[in-house]
Symmetry: C2
Subunit: 414 residues, 2 copies
């Protein structure tokens, strides 16, 4: 059979039967309206969106493509692979094929009727070589950095987006409940993490987590036990863990878990591109008093952040207040990492990526707004011994907040 014909006639049937949800036209239009408003304010007359999650957000498809958003006129999605599927997934009207970058310049000129004068690009992440290529394809355009405005519009989630995050939270709940059944003394951290990943996938987790970064790699199997919980590694996290080798020096290791030690499980779920992140503590038999007390402190800090979570609260102030509370509780030297290696955030924005706005962090003095979502994770680290922490994904509502990862917060003791 012909592939084009099959995609046109059968693809929607099979994908619908398996629960695919496509982004509605009105949703995409609302996003474009926000983007164009900011483009106008910045003096851009076109934006060439190249990063996958950015154009997924603005087109509804993650096929290999480039998206042109003119300030005036309709957007144009130029698809390298695969065109027919992109036409089904995206509600945009102008979806055309593009064999290679060589066609880009003429496609853009024909669509706009001219070359853009000020063209926005995602300079924070677009490779230099692509930047040079765009420079030579659009010699009359001034290329400017538009990453901030895209990140800015993406920080407020719509009800359509929040539903996916709630669903991700539901999958997470199943994973943690299953975790309690699976965990056994002598099992390695990575074996445990791998099982949880399998449970999550069977329930619709997409397997990959995403972060907007050149080098940073996200992963779900952040299972740390006893001393591996006390290891700081490459990631901007209070504890990185041992990992499996010098090539992947974070997350679960082949260490076999023992009774009475703290086992930290920080597991992210991705559903339809949207992520929920959460952390809970496990132990085989009771864990030492020291860790139980520290975990109580994490919960107290967690609750204190929630009490300040409502539109208008200043993100940096919330973070600084947690430093004061941690000190008062006796954890100044272990809160968010060991001395000299402490991270400077208590929450990161979350959605299609794990490092969206807002950051409840040093240097981030701006107000919380309704529709923002963040993963908040007070953690306490004792090098050589272990670490504890708790994490939930939280939505800022008009009145306060909603927890998108509703799961019991007591230590899961098996």
């Amino acid at each position: 059979m012909n592939h084009e014909k099959w995609i046109r006639e059968e693809f929607r049937v099979i994908s619908n039967s398996l629960g695919f949800i496509y982004t509605p036209k009105e949703e995409i239009e609302a996003r474009h309206a926000m983007l164009r408003k900011k483009m106008d304010a910045e003096g851009m007359d076109a934006f060439l969106v190249a990063q996958k999650m950015d154009y997924f957000y603005l087109s509804g498809t993650a096929q290999d493509a480039l998206l042109l958003v003119p300030l005036d006129g309709k957007p144009l999605l130029m698809v390298k692979r695969e065109l027919e599927r992109a036409r089904i997934e995206s509600p945009l009207e102008d979806v055309v094929g593009m064999e290679s970058y060589r066609e880009l310049s003429s496609l853009v000129r024909e669509h706009m009727g001219r070359e853009p004068s000020v063209l926005g690009l995602e300079m924070d992440i677009l490779p230099a070589r692509d930047y040079f290529r765009f420079q030579s394809l659009f010699p009359g355009s001034r290329l400017v950095d538009g990453s901030q405005i895209i990140r800015d519009i993406r920080k407020i989630k719509s009800p359509f987006e929040i539903d996916f995050m709630r669903k991700a939270g539901d999958i997470g709940k199943k994973v943690y409940h299953e975790a309690k059944k699976i965990l056994k003394q002598g099992m390695s951290e990575i074996e445990f993490g791998g099982h949880l990943e399998a449970v999550a996938k069977a329930n619709g987790h997409e397997g990959l987590l995403r972060v907007r970064s050149f080098n940073y790699e996200a992963y779900s199997w952040h299972v740390l036990s006893g001393p591996t919980g006390g290891i700081v590694s490459q990631s901007d996290s209070p504890m990185g863990g041992l990992g499996l080798s010098p090539a992947f020096p974070v997350g679960a290791s082949l260490r076999r878990m023992k009774a009475h030690e703290p086992i930290l499980v920080d597991f992210g779920i991705c559903y339809h591109g949207y992520q929920a992140d959460e952390t809970r503590m496990f132990s085989i038999g009771k864990m030492d008093r020291k860790f139980i007390d520290a975990y109580k402190a994490c919960r107290e800090i967690h609750d204190a952040v929630l009490s300040e979570t409502h539109p208008g609260s200043d993100c940096e102030s919330i973070f600084i207040n947690t430093l004061k509370l941690a000190e008062k509780l006796g954890y100044k030297e272990s809160y968010l990492g060991p001395p000299g290696l402490q991270t400077r955030f208590i929450a990161h924005g979350i959605g299609l990526e794990l490092n969206e706005f807002p950051f409840l962090a040093q240097g981030h003095s701006y107000p919380l707004e309704e529709g923002m979502t963040f993963a908040m994770e007070p953690k306490i680290v004792f090098p050589g011994e272990g670490s504890v922490g708790v994490e939930n994904t939280v939505l800022v509502t008009v009145k306060g907040y909603e927890i998108l990862t509703p799961l019991e917060m007591d230590i899961f003791e098996v």
Copy 2:
């Protein structure tokens, strides 16, 4: 306990006991010698290596860092996080801490005694914003693209690297044998893929696959059954599959597998950063004659490529010969994808990344060399019906080749 002290005193003990292998000094020195030779030929007096797998290759650590390689003099590893662990993982002598990019310029000037005049960067992948930052930090340097020379030295694998790939192949063998036990009618593709991923991880697979790309995301759970095997999607693969949603439109889906249909399992393993990639066919009961015949053709093409695999063979010619053989066998319209969507390679180089040199592909006319490794994957696609294929990771030896993924090649029928 103090983190620095613990890392210095205990980290090596725990990581050694769990099988961590560190890159020896002589290995790193040999790689630097190759790089400096090419830098000299290109007129670079320094290289600032920023991409994680590139500096892992050249330093032995994947901690968050930047590596300066002067043409003359010792390399300098500047570590953002975490310094003490980087000092254990890397045999380099000069490993220093760097709080932020602000220190970069003075660290480089002090180390070299001057500003570089021609500074190599990985322009193929370095974000534009970082390029601009380096431009302002080194106003007297001419910044040039050095990605090609790094990719060039990485294409020949040392015995130290090949051992990791053999080990990855061993893990793969266990995964496929377990797959035969796990596969059941009515199981979803992703549930099957998730189980295999869990088995692989418990045996030391690092979970992530890596590809040198801005947007492309590698993953292991490429399990396609019946019609999903006939779907071309965003990836440069003969068949992309359905995936789990428009946000992740490739690989395994929630489709439940049925008897008698072709089930393609393309699973990659990563061990100590080094990857092995392989594909085998599965079926529940016998699959239709059409697919069995097509699979035989894939094996014939596979064997034909092997017969040409030895130092000196031209990579493009090998690819073109497979086109002729596929046509002769009656698969001109289905080999490597459906008409209009056929991929133009039969093998991709593999090592730390899935898209290394060599490519046995259109436009890649250069000879195979001893020490090159590639994943070779003849595949045949029938839209609406399914696809078949086989894949092995192959090392070019002085006399011919060695298969690094030794596993029976018959259809796994359960």
